[in-house]
């Protein structure tokens, strides 16, 4: 799912945010504006960590989101894909 300007149907929904960099985030989508895409209650996975991303996502689904920061703004261009945690 690609975020478009004004696409707000994900507001309040916990999503997986794949970026163009090494980090993958799980967070609640808040809004998209001229500053970028705003997320709240963010947990992040670093591609360099020993744990597999799929395993981290499974653990997050089961045990919940361990919030590391309250607010994150990402430039739209840095976001590869957003999909529901499910």
């Amino acid at each position: 799912m690609v975020i478009h300007p004004g696409h707000q149907e994900l507001h309040g929904i916990t999503v997986i945010v794949e970026t163009t960099g090494p980090l993958t985030h799980v967070a609640r989508f808040d809004r998209e504006d001229e500053g970028g895409v705003h997320f709240k209650d963010v947990a992040s996975f670093a591609a360099s960590s020993e744990e597999d991303l799929a395993a981290w996502l499974d653990r997050t689904r089961k045990f919940g989101v361990r919030v590391e920061r309250k607010h994150l703004v990402l430039p739209t261009a840095d976001i590869r894909q957003v999909r529901r945690l499910g």
Binding site: K62, G64, R66
Partner: protein, 144 residues
């Protein structure tokens, strides 16, 4: 930090009117979770939209099911801070979120419905998760 109690009262009653006991102090939480026995459902209530539109209606629907937990409790996140924190201390392997629901059997978590499992879902879908767990883990069947 909390909302005026007058505003919260109907949100509390939206849960307690189904026979769910509200826990508002640490002592009340410890009295029921400290020496667990049987199956216990704890509903962590909140003011947010997914509580009103999803979690509370789902709970109401699930509690119409023939098989239910032995004991039903609720705490109110953001309002009864100490009681909510105390509940969360009993299930500390699970990240806090609200609204949420936890089903315990003899003190062990057998189902945790996180906020992310409530957001954007119909109450009937959430209720189906609950009743499936009730059927699997709870032994009480109420005759019709």
């Amino acid at each position: 930090m909390g909302y005026p109690e007058l505003m919260i009262k109907p949100m509390r009653e939206d849960v307690t009117r189904h026979g769910v006991q509200e826990l508002r102090t640490v002592a009340e939480v410890d009295a029921v979770l400290g020496t667990p026995s049987g199956t216990q459902l704890v509903f962590i209530n909140s003011v947010c939209g997914c509580a009103a539109g999803g979690a509370r209606p789902a709970l109401a629907k699930a509690l119409q099911h023939a098989t239910k937990p032995d004991q039903l409790y609720t705490v109110f996140a953001g309002q009864d801070l100490d009681a909510t924190a105390r509940v969360r201390s009993y299930v500390s392997d699970y990240a806090p979120s609200s609204p949420s629901m936890v089903l315990l059997r003899d003190g062990e978590v057998v189902l945790f419905v996180h906020r992310h499992m409530i957001e954007g879902r119909a109450p009937s879908e959430i209720a189906a998760d609950l009743t499936a767990a009730f059927d699997r883990h709870c032994g009480q069947t109420v005759g019709s």
